[in-house]
């Protein structure tokens, strides 16, 4: 669906990041349907932050898809349960097999479902099965087809791909700029609020592998681990967010009381 012209900024539907102290610094959240790059080095809570948005939106009746390419879905869920997310409050569907995806999705009739597609398990299945595809098949198409099928079932509001970096490992990009452009456009056309998780190199020289991911995205959220004396702090910065007046300052990010908080110099930011 092509983006439509808006007459007034109040018409922009926003998806909160569910980060206390940050959402009110960005007009309430991310414009729905936009693509946001969530980037950071290892351990910066990229997956947790994205999962948190999907979880809370599903609690509000939305349907979300979380595709994990390396970490198994069970491992991810266990991690989130350990953080305090209550998986019994949401309808969770696990996709571990490409053959029964239609059947699984038909079980997700009705709103308020979190679909977890475990590509790590599916890759093992494909490798061992007697198919004509093999482990080096076109995984970009697999990702597109899962998204497309969910949309065809009339239910997909939010999507997280965890991670772009893992996608690059399993799917060869001959012309990254062109291929990523078309992948981003595919997601935009389906009008899905998307989080693409990207591993930043340790030198933090760029936000993604090919240096184009941030240009193509509508928004960029950077997560960092910063060492001060003996203490390590997590920090979050909204580098860019289209259609949004955003405070680009660096906030400290904390997970406490089963929710994320963004602190400004140790205090909630002044509005």
């Amino acid at each position: 669906m092509p983006e439509e012209l808006i007459k007034d900024k109040s018409h922009i539907e926003r998806i909160p990041l569910y980060i206390e102290g940050l959402d009110d610094q960005m007009e309430g959240g991310i414009p729905a349907g936009q693509i946001t790059l969530v980037c950071g080095t290892a351990g910066t809570m990229k997956s947790s932050l994205s999962f948190n948005v999907l979880y809370n939106e599903v609690l509000n009746g939305k349907t979300a898809l979380y595709i994990t390419l390396e970490q198994s879905a069970v491992s991810l869920l266990n991690h989130m349960t350990n953080m305090g997310f209550d998986s019994s409050k949401v309808n969770i569907l696990l996709i571990k097999n490409l053959s029964d995806i239609e059947q699984k999705l038909s079980m997700a009739k009705g709103k308020g479902t979190l679909v977890l597609a475990d590509i790590a398990v599916i890759r093992k299945e494909i490798k061992s099965a007697d198919t004509r595809i093999g482990p080096t098949g076109d995984w970009i198409n697999v990702l597109k087809n899962i998204v497309r099928k969910m949309k065809e079932h009339g239910q997909l509001d939010l999507f997280t791909l965890d991670s772009l970096s893992a996608l690059y490992v399993i799917s060869k990009f001959d012309n990254p700029r062109t291929e990523l452009f078309y992948y981003y456009e595919f997601l935009r056309d389906l009008d899905i609020t998307t989080f693409l998780i990207s591993e930043m190199p340790l030198d933090k020289s760029r936000y993604g592998e090919y240096g184009v991911e941030d240009f193509l995205a509508d928004g960029v959220i950077r997560l960092e681990l910063v060492e001060r004396q003996r203490k390590t702090n997590r920090e979050i910065t909204v580098i860019k967010m289209r259609k949004t007046a955003v405070n680009n300052d660096v906030f400290t990010l904390e997970w406490a009381g089963r929710k994320f908080k963004a602190l400004y110099g140790g205090q909630p930011a002044l509005i």
Partner: protein, 412 residues
């Protein structure tokens, strides 16, 4: 038409007769390549839905074959539903086994090259490792069929579909292959232009600055024994190479060139003129030396290879252009010279019937002379011709799946 009218028409280029839709076939799926035609007037097409269809000039379906394969649901997930099994390449007919019966060769997005009998029975298929997006060619010197694939290879198959050799082109091959006297020409996505032997050995290689998806054209540009090969590139240039790989000339346009070049001696100078389209919305006519003869502007890209033939049997060549602007244009192949001073009586006489163009083109230049134009049922993606004695047909493929069969009708 009286004698005086005919004389004025001969001088002024006033159109006679009209261009009309003779028949229309609604294909099962979009058409993004030109049709192939045979001497019997049968038309062969491949569609985005993976159908191979054979049609008569009256738009009757003679036979069809569904290239869609049965796949498991898991395998389906690895394919782009828009492209899987679809046919992006023009089919090719040839008598590969010298039995005086034609075979039809069709390449698909799944990397299959399928050989059919002329009545639609599948004879064999060969699997490349990537989509086949261009027309295969028959190499009469070796009796083989040769085609490129996006798996970066050019394949050579014998009459039974067994691979004789493959050539590593180092980049995806979306360009068509043209075989001529034991040599095969093609380009790749890196802009390399290759000449290889019928045995698959590199003869020479040239470089352009853009992807090549057009199919090379071979001809004797200067009408003597010297042969040349022409290819357009995404670097916006049309190139002419000598047979040893030396660049003869290049001509710059303002857009990517997807169109093949068509060659014909349209002005009886013993040399071949060059006709092609560009994504700058223009159709170009060049001299054999690569100089602009005329240009014609449409409202969108010109991707289809132009047709150059005597459509109205008046002894002069016409050039047929299909544009993404959803029109087919028929132009006088020679164009005309617009006077330095206008619009005196001689100017008006010269422009008779083309007043719109008088306003469009600068004086003192050669310009295209539009004879007819006809609206298509979609973007013009490919052109083919059927020539049967006095009856000549234009076969226009469109992105909506309509195949328009167009004919010239002499007005009584």
């Amino acid at each position: 038409m009286g004698l005086l009218s005919r004389m004025i028409s001969a001088v002024s280029g006033t159109r006679q007769g009209r261009l009309g839709l003779s028949a229309q076939f609604e294909a099962e799926g979009k058409l993004i390549a030109a049709a192939e035609t045979d001497a019997k007037g049968q038309i062969y097409i491949g569609t985005k839905k993976g159908m191979v269809e054979c049609i008569s000039l009256k738009a009757d379906l003679l036979w069809s074959f569904d290239l869609q394969e049965k796949r498991s649901s898991a395998e389906e997930m690895f394919l782009d539903p828009e492209a899987s099994s679809s046919i992006s390449a023009q089919p090719r007919i040839a008598d590969i086994n010298s039995d005086r019966r034609l075979e039809l060769f069709v390449g698909s997005e799944t990397g299959k090259l399928v050989c059919f009998t002329e009545d639609g029975k599948k004879k064999w298929e060969f699997s490349a490792k990537g989509p086949i997006r261009s027309r295969p060619d028959f190499d009469s010197a070796s009796g083989t069929i040769i085609f490129g694939s996006t798996d970066k290879r050019v394949y050579c198959l014998d009459k039974n579909g067994s691979m004789k050799w493959n050539f590593d082109a180092k980049a995806p091959v979306e360009s068509g292959v043209t075989c001529h006297k034991g040599k095969c020409f093609f380009g790749n996505d890196n802009g390399d232009f290759f000449c290889i032997s019928s045995e698959g050995k590199l003869v020479w290689q040239a470089k352009t600055d853009g992807k090549i998806i057009a199919t090379p054209t071979v001809g004797r540009l200067f009408g003597d024994e010297r042969e040349h090969v022409l290819i357009g590139s995404f670097d916006r240039k049309m190139y002419a190479f000598e047979m040893d790989g030396k660049e003869l000339w290049s001509f710059s346009t303002e857009g990517r060139i997807c169109s093949d070049a068509a060659l014909a001696d349209v002005n009886d100078d013993g040399k071949l003129e060059v006709f092609f389209g560009s994504c700058d919305n223009m159709a170009y006519a060049l001299t054999s030396e690569g100089q602009r003869m005329w240009t014609f502007e449409t409202d969108f890209w010109v991707v289809a290879r132009p047709l150059v033939f005597d459509l109205d049997n008046d002894g002069n060549y016409e050039v047929v252009i299909a544009s993404y602007d959803e029109f087919v244009y028929v132009l006088d192949a020679r164009g005309y010279y617009s006077l330095d001073f206008l619009p005196g009586v001689s100017g008006v006489a010269q422009q008779s019937g083309h007043f719109a163009e008088v306003l469009t083109y600068r004086s003192g230049e050669n310009a295209a002379k539009l004879l007819w134009k006809l609206r298509l049922d979609g973007m013009g993606t490919g052109l083919a011709a059927v020539v049967q004695k006095q009856n000549k047909y234009i076969i226009a493929s469109t992105n909506t799946g309509k195949l328009d069969i167009i004919s010239y009708q002499k007005e009584v």
